[in-house]
């Protein structure tokens, strides 16, 4: 007869697995922000003070907070069944985010929380302690013991809310000098700021606006579609009904790089970033999960750089869309791909049009002739032989010298640095300033020769 043997995971080994699920600092903090939003927070403040021997990261919100028992329950790994449908607006997924996200970044996770009208309460997971005792022993603080917690201000700053403190950070190189640690932390925090500005941009405006800050500096949203900007185009949209709710699809075309001011262009990742980030943007309960890329349904192209497809899905579709524990990736169900493909052609086509329009203005140029042969599909760029100034020069030349000039002009056209121009137009279009050519270099050569 078969028997059942208890094979519960060894805490010491299990914690190591949880530490390596693959969170980045950005995805880990985003997971905590999800919890704050679900808790109804209006203010979410992140602190990563510089100059500490042992840096800490803290995130504090004014959400509903938790009672002591609720906190203890929520500190348990996998405290919620992922198969249970999440309510609208609930950004949680597996009920493990707080713990797994934290364990991937820090050896110590402390949660201080306060319900309105109740005193604050706190609990802590310490990985070194779990390893030492080989048990899931949660440290629970009494109210009067909270002052011992490093990073806790003493008084909870909101009537209700939750503060998460990460100590003994493993996301910062341990052996570094304090100045290097500060530099590394500052670089990571700067990246984090951009990540939050993009991934939570839809929570940063409107009637239900939340305020996000890092070290007291407010984070301004980055709208990846640049709605309302000069030159922005809105395309077709659709609301598809499926199991679990509605999928909303809308299409956008960004303004051409030339229409963006340098600051906006930089915030959008520069021309290169805009080109790379073309594609599908998937939001789960308004939180951005997938930022760009065509997910195998199209190819990135320079001309399609401005095309964006926005897809909104409810959390109820998590199982169908295979949202992962980090809420960083998901898979579009095969049946939805068909519906989505129909919407990809329009923004790409209009993005190409925006580019072509810019191109056409440049073809109206009396110095260069652009030859496109429809039959051979060959495109060539020639010095325009019908240019009146060139004709004038030719008239002054002797017959023997004319052929030298012709051969020089042919070489000039043949050696046009097309690849360089293409690359720089894609990366830094606003830096190309042909109108400001330094003519003195050419003049000095002439003076030397003649």
């Amino acid at each position: 007869m078969t028997k059942f043997v208890d094979q519960s995971p060894d805490p010491k080994s299990h914690i190591k697995t949880l530490m390596h699920i693959g969170y980045t600092l950005n995805s880990a903090i985003s997971d905590l922000i999800d919890n704050s939003i679900t808790a109804g927070a209006k203010n979410i403040e992140i602190f990563a003070p510089p100059g500490l021997d042992s840096p800490i990261i803290s995130i504090i919100d004014d959400g509903c907070g938790m009672e002591s028992e609720e906190l203890i329950q929520n500190m348990r790994i996998g405290c919620k069944d992922p198969r249970i449908d999440r309510e609208k607006g609930d950004l949680g997924r597996f009920g493990s985010g707080l713990k797994t996200a934290s364990f991937s970044q820090a050896l110590q996770l402390t949660v201080i929380t306060k319900k309105q009208g109740s005193p604050p309460t706190a609990a802590r997971w310490d990985i070194q302690e779990i390893e030492r005792t080989n048990s899931w022993c949660l440290e629970v603080f009494e109210s009067h013991e909270l002052s011992q917690i490093e990073g806790y201000a003493g008084n909870f700053p909101f009537p209700s809310g939750t503060q998460i403190i990460w100590d003994k950070l493993i996301c910062i190189d341990e052996g570094s000098h304090i100045i290097d640690k500060d530099k590394e932390l500052a670089a990571k925090i700067s990246e984090l700021k951009s990540h939050i500005a993009l991934h939570f941009h839809r929570f940063m405006h409107g009637a239900n606006k939340r305020t996000f800050s890092i070290n007291r500096g407010e984070i301004n949203p980055i709208d990846p579609f640049m709605k309302g900007a000069n030159g922005y185009q809105e395309g077709p949209s659709e609301r598809l009904r499926c199991k679990g709710g509605h999928i909303e699809i809308s299409t956008h075309v960004l303004p051409h790089f030339n229409k963006m001011d340098p600051m906006t262009l930089e915030r959008m990742g520069g021309a290169e970033g805009i080109t790379q980030n073309q594609g599908i943007y998937i939001y789960r309960e308004k939180r951005l999960i997938q930022a760009g890329g065509w997910m195998g349904m199209n190819r990135n192209s320079q001309l399609g750089a401005l095309a964006r497809v926005q897809v909104d899905i409810p959390a109820a579709l998590d199982n169908d869309w295979a949202t992962d524990v980090k809420k960083e990736t998901l898979q579009i169900p095969a049946r939805v791909k068909g519906g989505l493909r129909k919407f990809m052609a329009d923004p790409v086509k209009r993005s190409k049009k925006v580019y072509s329009y810019k191109g056409k203005t440049e073809t109206a140029n009396e110095f260069w002739k652009i030859c496109e042969d429809e039959n051979t599909k060959k495109i060539t760029y020639l010095v325009d032989p019908n240019n009146s100034a060139l004709e004038n020069i030719f008239e002054r030349f002797l017959e023997s010298d004319k052929s030298i000039l012709v051969s020089y002009l042919n070489e000039l056209a043949k050696n046009l640095p097309i690849n360089h121009i293409y690359e720089k137009m894609a990366e830094r279009p606003n830096d190309i300033q042909q109108d400001e050519l330094d003519m003195s270099i050419l003049e000095s050569i002439f003076k030397k020769v003649f």
């Binding site: 659709e238 609301r239 598809l240 009904r241 499926c242 199991k243 999928i247 169900p333 049946r335 939805v336």
Partner: protein, 114 residues
């Protein structure tokens, strides 16, 4: 409205959903057409009941035949075909939808005396 009639209308909606949502998705215009036709034909049925029928459809593993077999009287069969045809055609009838619609029509022709 009698419970039996409500069940029949609900089944008609599920057949239309089967035909429109052949790929598991019902477009906005198809959904709006279902609501419009049902509300025009049965004003007492109500949006919440239509919504309920659609949710039940998506949560069920039943095939189109399983629904068709439950509609026996001629009036509701006719309504099912009209509802399905108009809603599925609302954004253009694609091949899959057309095949499903033909299937429903053949089913009722073959089982005309049931």
């Amino acid at each position: 409205m009698e419970l039996e009639v409500q069940d029949k209308i609900s089944t008609c909606i599920k057949v239309a959903a089967c035909i429109c949502g052949k790929d598991g998705l019902i477009s906005e215009v198809e959904e709006a057409t279902i609501f419009k036709i049902v509300n025009e034909t049965f004003p007492d049925f109500g949006d919440s009941k239509i919504e309920e029928a659609l949710v039940e459809f998506f949560n069920s593993k039943m095939q189109i035949e399983d629904y068709l077999v439950h509609i026996n009287d001629e009036i509701f069969r006719e309504f099912t075909i009209i509802l399905s045809k108009r809603s599925a055609s609302a954004d253009g009838l694609n091949i899959d939808e057309n095949i499903a619609l033909q299937k429903a029509m053949i089913f009722y022709t073959e089982n005309a005396n049931d």
